[in-house]
Amino acid sequence: MFDPCTQCEEMLQPYLDRVLSEEERIEAEDHLNRCAYCAKRYRFEESLRQFVRQAVSEPMPAELKARLSALRTPL
C-alpha cells in the first residue's frame, strides 16, 4: 500500500544531501509542509548530522604539527 510517510523516509538522506531531482524535491517539501511527523524527523536528522560531526571531531595534538613541519624538505 502506498504510504507517503514511508516514501518521505526514503527521501530523507538524498534530500539533506541535496541530490534529489527538482521534481522529487518538490514532492518531498510538499509532504513535509503537511506532515508534522515527517518534518520533525527531518529536523532531527539535520541536528543529528551536526551533532555527530562535532562529537567525533578531535583536535590535532600540537606536537604532531611540529613533527609534520620537521618532515619538510630542508632548504
Binding site: 520533525k40 567525533v56 604532531l64
Partner: protein, 192 residues
C-alpha cells in the same frame, strides 16, 4: 639549455615546492580529523598522518596543481592505511535487519519526552557517538567519515577510496542507518 635557464627553472621548482609544502601543512588539522576516525586509536592516527606527510613531501611533483589537494592527501592516507593491513577486517556478509531512517528518532521518542527534536539530539552523548561510529563496519564507516565528517563530495570520496560513485552513495545510505542503529543501542540500550 643554458646554465641561466637551468638555474631559473630550478629556482622556480624550488619555489613551487615550498608553496606546496606550506599548503599541505595548512591542511594538517583537517587531515588529522578524518584520519582519527578511520583508525581506532590516536597513536595510530598520528602515525598515519605522519607517514602520509612524509610521502606527500617526497612525491609532491605528482600532484597536479589546481586539483583538490585535500583529496590527494586523503588518497595517500587511505592507501597507506590499506597497506598497513587494516583492511583484513571486512564488512560481514550478513548485516542485522536494516531499520529505516526514522528508527533512531522513534526509539528516542518512545523512551522519553520528545517535544523538541533539537532537545532529543541532546540525549545522545559525545562518547556514545564516538563509540557508535567505531562500531560501524569499515567499508561503511570510511564513507561516512569522508562525506559526513570530512565534508568531501561523493565524487571526491569515490576517488579517495577508488570505488564507483554509486558504491559511495549506497554505502553512505546504509552506513548512516547502521550508525543510527548503533546510536539507538548506545542510548536506549536496545537493538533493532
Amino acid at each position: 639549455m643554458s646554465p641561466e635557464t637551468d638555474a631559473r627553472r630550478i629556482a622556480e621548482q624550488e619555489r613551487d615546492r615550498v608553496r606546496f609544502e606550506e599548503e599541505v601543512l595548512e591542511l594538517a588539522e583537517q587531515v588529522y580529523r578524518v584520519a582519527r576516525r578511520l583508525v581506532s586509536s590516536r597513536e595510530e592516527a598520528e602515525d598515519l598522518v605522519q607517514e602520509t606527510y612524509a610521502r606527500a613531501f617526497r612525491s609532491w611533483s605528482s600532484f597536479t596543481p589546481g586539483t583538490n589537494l585535500r583529496a590527494w592527501l586523503l588518497r595517500i592516507l587511505t592507501n597507506l592505511n590499506i597497506d598497513r593491513g587494516r583492511r583484513e577486517q571486512r564488512a560481514p556478509d550478513t548485516q542485522p535487519l536494516e531499520e529505516g531512517d526514522y528508527f533512531l528518532y522513534n526509539k528516542l521518542e518512545e523512551t522519553g519526552a520528545a517535544d523538541d527534536e533539537e532537545r532529543v539530539v541532546e540525549r545522545l552523548s559525545q562518547e556514545g557517538v564516538v563509540h557508535a561510529l567505531s562500531s560501524v563496519p569499515h567499508d561503511f564507516r570510511d564513507v561516512i567519515v569522508l562525506v559526513d565528517i570530512g565534508e568531501f563530495s561523493y565524487q571526491d570520496a569515490a576517488q579517495i577510496l577508488d570505488i564507483p560513485i554509486g558504491t559511495v552513495m549506497s554505502r553512505l545510505h546504509r552506513g548512516r542507518r547502521i550508525l543510527k542503529q548503533e546510536l539507538a543501542e548506545e542510548t536506549v540500550g536496545e537493538t533493532a
